[in-house]
Every structure is written in structure tokens, then in C-alpha cells.
Symmetry: C2
């Protein structure tokens, strides 16, 4: 009989499920809406029902889950976006399976996104990798010797919440001020741009807009708008600093940048590199940095990686 592994990326709105063969080739993928009612108590059952409708449960060798919250040793501590408190996903899911053994593993969604890029994305084959997912917020995932670093309280790879800025001191959702997320996420880049527009009367095409996106800032920076360029360079400097801290801690072979902001591609990487080496000094000469390639599917691939 064929054997499959499944990667399940549980988001606040949608659950993405991928079916893989044991070589890591994706065979099928589908979505299930996330039912957040009753503290998300239907979520695991909905996943089981969806899977068992499509596949013979006995053909499944393992299921990996990515969840939006801290995880350690297989225990989810809480997922605000799902309504979950502490949860042993493997134990609960096995209630549905009953007489068949399926290996079940779970990790944080930002961590599994890193594993996804390692499994079938732009970090394929690497074993020591750090991913920064730069979107609305900044997430991080760390792989050391092929294993994700969840950390003791699930705070491993919470790279968006490293304090890097003591100048603007913008408030972060986590309750602190000056976290990487406040100055280098898509939101942070817009924050920085609006501050700079206020603090000077320098001309900028950004002044045409009441509101604008981080993409707009990047596009104008690429076309030579000086203020937009200053914003991009400052956001990249904060990222470079955070990457230096990670370098002098776990010293990965490869950094991967994902999330919407990473669509800026080589332009972003060049601005990061312009600052990075001054922070790492003699310890690293040629750091590999690439853009992620799996987009929103990274979590699904990485969840499968957990049980490959």
C-alpha cells in the first residue's frame, strides 16, 4: 500500500493541508476553513474529517502540524487566534484515529515555514538555516542540525520581538517597544516612512499619498526617491543587526527571507548586506542570504517535514 505524510498548517482563517509521498513530493493540497467557535474545539475534528474523507487513514504514516502559537516538546501552550489554551495535539488527534498508529508532530507556524523552505524551497538540503518571515509582523524559524529549535517555552525563533530600536521606541503588539517588528515589518516600514515624512520637509513622492503600503515605499526607493530609500535602508539596517545577533548565536549556513516584504528581492538583500558585515566583524565573511520560494505554502511543506 502507498504511504503518505501530511502537512497541516493551521491558520486563524484557513487550514492548509498537503498530501506528500515519502520522498517529499506534494501530491495534493486543499483548504479547510478554521472554525474558531467554542474556543476552536472543532478544529482538530474538522481536520480529521477532511483527511479521512479524502484518504484511507491507514495509508498515512505521519501528520505534522504548524500552529500559530508557542509550542515546546509537542505541547501547544496557547493559540490566541484559534481560541486554544494548552493542548496536546498528538493526544487529541489520536482519539479520532483509534486503532492505527500515526506519528504526529507539532511546531510553531513560523518555525515550520523555515522547515518548509528546507524541505522543498530555497533552503533545500541545508541543515542550519534561519528564516525571517517579514510580513505584517516579523516571524522567525531556526533549524539547527536539521532540527527546529522550539525552545523551552516555545519562544525559540521569536526574532520579530528582539529589541533593536531605541530611537523611535514604537509600541509592539507584544507589549514592548522597539521590537524588530515595529521597524522592519511591512507595518514597520510604513511606520518609519510616516515618521520621516513628518520629521522633515524633504521632497518625496510618498507625500502624494495619505496612506501607502510597504510595497509603495520599496517601489519608490527602487526608482530613486531619496526619502523612501532612506526608509528601506534603515529597515534593512535593523534586519541586518538582528541577523548579526542570530549569527553570533547559532551561526547558520543560510539566511532565508520570506513574507511579503521579501518580494523586494535582491534590492532588500543588498541593503541588508551593506550593514550586516559591520555587525558580525571578522566572524563571518560570506554569509549566504536568499529569498524564500514557497510563499504561503511554506508552512504546509514544513509541517510535513516534521514527520518525514
Amino acid at each position: 500500500m502507498n504511504e503518505y505524510i501530511l502537512g497541516v498548517d493551521i491558520g486563524g482563517t484557513t487550514i492548509k493541508i498537503g498530501q506528500f509521498d515519502t520522498n517529499g513530493t506534494i501530491l495534493n493540497k486543499w483548504d479547510v476553513p478554521t472554525d474558531r467557535s467554542n474556543n476552536g474545539s472543532n478544529i482538530l475534528k474538522d481536520i480529521y474529517t477532511s483527511i479521512s474523507t479524502k484518504l484511507d487513514i491507514e495509508s498515512i504514516r505521519g501528520i505534522g502540524f504548524g500552529v500559530p502559537g508557542p509550542v515546546s516538546n509537542g505541547i501547544v501552550f496557547h493559540c490566541v487566534n484559534l481560541g486554544w489554551g494548552e493542548k496536546n495535539v498528538a493526544e487529541e488527534f489520536n482519539h479520532f484515529i483509534r486503532d492505527h498508529y500515526i506519528e504526529i508532530k507539532v511546531s510553531n507556524d513560523a518555525n515550520v515555514a523555515c522547515a518548509g523552505e528546507v524541505y522543498q524551497g530555497s533552503a533545500k538540503g541545508y541543515k542550519n538555516v534561519v528564516l525571517f518571515t517579514i510580513g505584517t509582523g516579523v516571524g522567525g524559524g531556526i533549524l539547527v542540525n536539521g532540527e527546529l529549535v522550539d525552545g523551552f517555552t516555545g519562544a525559540g525563533g521569536e526574532l520579530g520581538h528582539i529589541i533593536v530600536d531605541r530611537k523611535y521606541q514604537l509600541p509592539c503588539n507584544c507589549g514592548k517597544k522597539g521590537c524588530l517588528e515595529t521597524v522592519s515589518s511591512a507595518t514597520g516600514i510604513v511606520n518609519l516612512a510616516k515618521l520621516k515624512l513628518k520629521q522633515s520637509t524633504n521632497p518625496s513622492l510618498l507625500r502624494q499619498f495619505d496612506n501607502f503600503s510597504a510595497k509603495r515605499v520599496f517601489d519608490l526607493a527602487k526608482s530613486g526617491d531619496a526619502l523612501a530609500l532612506e526608509v528601506v535602508d534603515e529597515a534593512a539596517d535593523y534586519l541586518a543587526y538582528a541577523m548579526s545577533l542570530v549569527t553570533l548565536t547559532v551561526n547558520p549556513e543560510l539566511f532565508v527571507l520570506g513574507g511579503g516584504v521579501s518580494n523586494a528581492g535582491e534590492f532588500l538583500l543588498d541593503h541588508i548586506k551593506a550593514h550586516y558585515y559591520s555587525y558580525v566583524g571578522p566572524f563571518v565573511k560570506n554569509q549566504k542570504m536568499v529569498i524564500a520560494s514557497l510563499g504561503n505554502d511554506a508552512g504546509m511543506f514544513g509541517a510535513a517535514y516534521l514527520v518525514k
Copy 2:
């Protein structure tokens, strides 16, 4: 026949060798002077000679080495203090052993000190531990899931060279400015004290001395000298910040502080804790932090841990 493992900590002046049984109990330890002549080309032979004089080589199951330089995948990149360039320690040492197989592993001295505390010191039994060795400089060692994190270019755990200070910008031996080592090592604490003595006319018993040690600063701080207390608190703040960066990266179960400065004990830990939680925010509530217990023997114990 009895089987032994050996831990060999190669320093710039002295090589410390420890003989352990397979349960990790130390049976014997001795020193060999480090011969740095001819680019340290006699060092491994001297170690072999010393070991083979004391022990039947066939009774040795494994030898771990700690070296004062960057190491990755068993390859030493360079050790300035020994005169070594790139070196495959296992391969070279095996030339002396010939017909008997001995497992040989090598890691950086600050990393093996961390492993030593895990093997038989104040982190005994833990698997996720970060050690800061705070002496003349600041070294670091990181253990994730029981394995040392050497890093891709051997820069794993180079925690003394994380840039934490942008105010004083003191030059570091690594060529950068504002590294943790410049403000929180024994040297750094004296630096901070001298700066503060210059910058104010506030009374302090430190003004009696032309020169003083970090220990003097701690002793006066403990007895209530306001300026000394300010210095200790600032050095502890920088350490707390560096520890928060490590927390949001690998999120260890336990931090261990070693080196001469850690003799300040709970007094130092209390000042660190007073700042640490403001940097980690909601991610960590009760971080365990302890003082190292093995002193200068930590490296020897940790080298043995590599082959236990």
C-alpha cells in the same frame, strides 16, 4: 578491560587533561605545558606522549578536545594563541594512535565549557543551556537538544561579540565597537567605572585607587558605593539584553554564568534579572539562571562530554 574517556582543554599556556570513567566520574587530571613553538606543531604529539605514558592507549574509548578558536564539523579554522592554522585534529591525532580506534571530537573552548557544566556542573542533566563565561573577555557556549552549536564558520555562541552598546562605543579586540565584551567583561566593568569616574565628580571610594579590578567594583557596589553600584547595574543591563537576544533565538531552559565576574554570584544575577524581563516581555516568565560550578575545569569536563 576498563574503558576511559579523556577531556583535553588546550589553552595558550597549559593543556589540562582529565581522565574519566564511562559514567563521567573524573579519576585523574594533570597538566601539560603548551609548546607554542613552530606554530604549535608539537602540541598534539605532546598530548599523545603524555597520555600514552599514563594510560594504555587501548583502554581509551574517546578523546574530546577544547581549543581556543573557531571549529566547525571537527575542523579547527585557526587558533591564534596556539599558532595553529586550519587543522583536522582527529586526523592528526590518529597518526599517533595507529592501529587502535579512538573516537575523537573537537569544539571551541567556550562551547566545551558549557558542555562541562552540563556534564558535571551546575547545569547537570539539562539539554538546552547557554553559558556566558565572563572573565577578561566574554565567551559563550550554546547547547541545543544536548548538542553544542558550533555554527557554520565556528561563530556559534560568540556571545561576547554581539554589539550591545552604542553609547560608549569602546573598541573591542575583534575590531568592532560596543561588543558585550567591552562593557560586561572584567575589563569592560573597569572601563565603565573609569569612564563614570571621569564623567562626574560624584563621590566614590573607587577614587582612592589609580587602578582597580572588577572585583573591587563589585565589592564596593555590595557595600553601597553609589557609583560602583551604577557600574554593576549597567554591566548587568548589557548582559540582560544579550541574554534576551539569546532567549528569543534559542530559548534555553537554563542560563549559566561562569568566569571570574560570576564570583559576584546572586548579587550579579539579581541585577541581571532586574533588566532581563523587560527585554523578553511576555515570552518568558521565570528564566532559570545559575552560577557555574566547575571553574577552570569546565573545559576539561566538557571536552570529555563530546565523546561520552
